[in-house]
Amino acid sequence: MNTASNTKSYSKGPKGAQMILHIFFIAFSLACILPVLLIVAISLTNEKALTLQGYKFWPDKIDLSAYQYLFNHSETLAKAYGVSLTVTITGTLLAVLLIALYAYPLYRRDFPFKKAFNFYLLITMLFSGGLVPFYLLYVNFLNLKDSLIALILPGLSNAFYIFIARTFFQQTVPEEMIESGKLDGASEWRIFFQLVLPISLPVLATIALFTTLMYWNDWFNSMLFINNTDLYSLQYVMIQMIRQAEFFKNQLAGSGVALLVQESVPTESLRMAMVIVSIGPILFIYPFFQKYFTKGLTIGAIKG
């Protein structure tokens, strides 16, 4: 990400201009970060303080009871984490493998069916059957309701990443290398796995990270296909929490029970704590993203 490196000749502006730029970007960065910090603050605030003072950026006294509650009653959380992790890891590995497997023949100049398979992909980018047929296919014909496959399979078809991978192969894998591999008697599989994939790690990593994020953040397929509470993903549990707590409150509003319930279960802070717990892993892989990010985006910008 050395994007500011072309400053040697790109004449520096006056100091004042730089100051204004910095002030602007600091403000902008705060605008990006503060909303998330608000969630953190709420999750750390005492439930009573929340109901009295509302949501604030700075808790008067840090209270970890929401997190305690979360980890003590963590069965739901643990299950949801398990589902999200399983789906994300399996999905990402499969997706990267499938993308590379499809992109490689498209890159081979001597492959005579290149055009046909390119076209096969292009069509999927242009036209889609939409939600209704997709849903009916998964539920009525493939019988995938309440199955983890329904959470993984939809994410596996991504034509855009295939074109990105192909473009990367074209730019970095020399044709002669394939030739020499063949002369040395290596099989196609061996050439693919031992020559092409290792030197394509940057693009594979980029795609893997994007795919990880996509699977981790996916709630749509859970919403469509999952009824069994054991198979709820983290995102779906959060959806349930934001909707049900509201319902829960409305049911109890006005009755004396409300106060009682609020005291025993830190509903408000608990919900926000759940959000923080679900963001955690993303922040963990974030530095890796950074490294490959610009590269991946630049490759993507090149016409496929």
Binding site: Y10, Q53, G130, E188, M272
Partner: protein, 326 residues
């Protein structure tokens, strides 16, 4: 003898050629069997996820009942469409979808490009990197998380805006989830917060690719910063701006479902300004079980979406051959 053999050869000519074409195809299939095998699994996945649903669009023309099943149900002709367009829903969701998208596309483009140009002017490498890191962070959060963030600001009793900011202006306790007119602004702000940072990094990557010599030459000729931006940076960014805008235009009949469904908490009171085709189709399918209406809206969305992509692409091709997608 020689004469007759040439005649024969001429007469037979088409046949061997056809044969050899078939032969060549077979030979190629055998020769490249491993590569074909590599293509197989992904092809199957695409067939399941993309191609079969395309053929499923016929459901819009069926009168589905659960006794006969999808295949066995009677044909309905255009009845589903007639019902859909007879309601005011069709117009409302279409207008909402297109209007939101047009605003998002235009403002997103302007804001991301300006932001990219601005950050390219930051001379400190470290600062620039920190800003970029922070700017793209919102994009990594799922729309469910974003819905919690918006909720934290707008919660009718405890929300930060509601409790601490609005009282400063003399308002008290506003339940935003009951006021549809506020939502175009809220959704716009949410969408921009979520997406312009990452958008600007894409443009920044393109700016970085611009040859320094161009700027050097411009500086020699005495070009001001503003002239450098308008004469060099912007024109060179145009191709990627066009490509991304085309991609977006093609999707003008689709929307960010999470934004319109979760961030609004699917509040019924807000539908007049927040319902889009995607949420309409979803509700019809999952909540109301109204397959006829839902699949008609789905068909409408898919078919118009297709023509939009084709149209936008041919427009781009006309402007400049190299900027078209295909």
């Amino acid at each position: 003898m020689a004469n007759s053999s040439t005649v024969e050869a001429v007469a037979r000519k088409p046949l061997p050629q056809q044969q050899s074409r078939l032969k060549r195809l077979l030979r190629n299939i055998v020769k490249y069997r491993v590569l074909l095998l590599m293509l197989l699994p992904t092809s199957i996945v695409f067939f399941i996820n993309c191609y079969i649903p395309m053929f499923g669009l016929f459901i819009a023309f069926k009168n589905i009942n659960y006794v006969d099943g999808i295949m066995g149900s009677p044909w309905a002709g255009f009845d589903n469409f007639r019902f859909l367009f007879a309601t005011s829903d069709a117009l409302r969701v279409t207008v909402n979808t297109v209007a939101y998208n047009v605003v998002f596309i235009i403002s997103g483009l302007i804001l991301s490009v300006s932001l990219a140009i601005a950050i390219n002017e930051v001379t400190s490498r470290l600062a620039s990197r920190v800003y970029q890191t922070v700017m793209i962070m919102p994009n990594f959060l799922s729309m469910v998380v974003v819905s919690f963030i918006v909720y934290a600001f707008l919660h009718p009793e405890y929300g930060f805006l509601v409790k601490h900011i609005l009282p400063l202006f003399g308002y008290s306790s506003v339940n935003a989830y009951m006021h549809p007119n506020a939502w175009p602004y809220i959704l716009w702000l949410t969408k921009m917060w979520h997406s312009i940072g990452i958008g600007s990094v894409i443009y920044l990557a393109a700016i970085t690719g611009i040859s320094e010599e161009l700027y050097e030459a411009a500086v020699m000729d005495g070009a001001s910063k503003w002239q450098q931006i308008t004469r060099i940076t912007l024109p060179l960014l145009t191709p990627i701006m066009v490509i991304l805008t085309i991609l977006n235009l093609g999707g003008i009949f689709r929307s960010d479902f999470g934004l319109f469904y979760h961030v609004t908490l699917d509040s019924g009171a807000l539908r007049s300004t927040t319902d889009v085709i995607d949420t309409y189709v979803y509700r019809g399918l999952i909540q109301l079980n109204d397959l006829g209406m839902s699949s008609a809206a789905n068909f409408y969305q898919s078919v118009i979406g297709f023509f939009l992509v084709i149209g936008a692409n041919s427009l781009a091709r006309k402007l400049n051959r190299d900027t078209a997608l295909f």
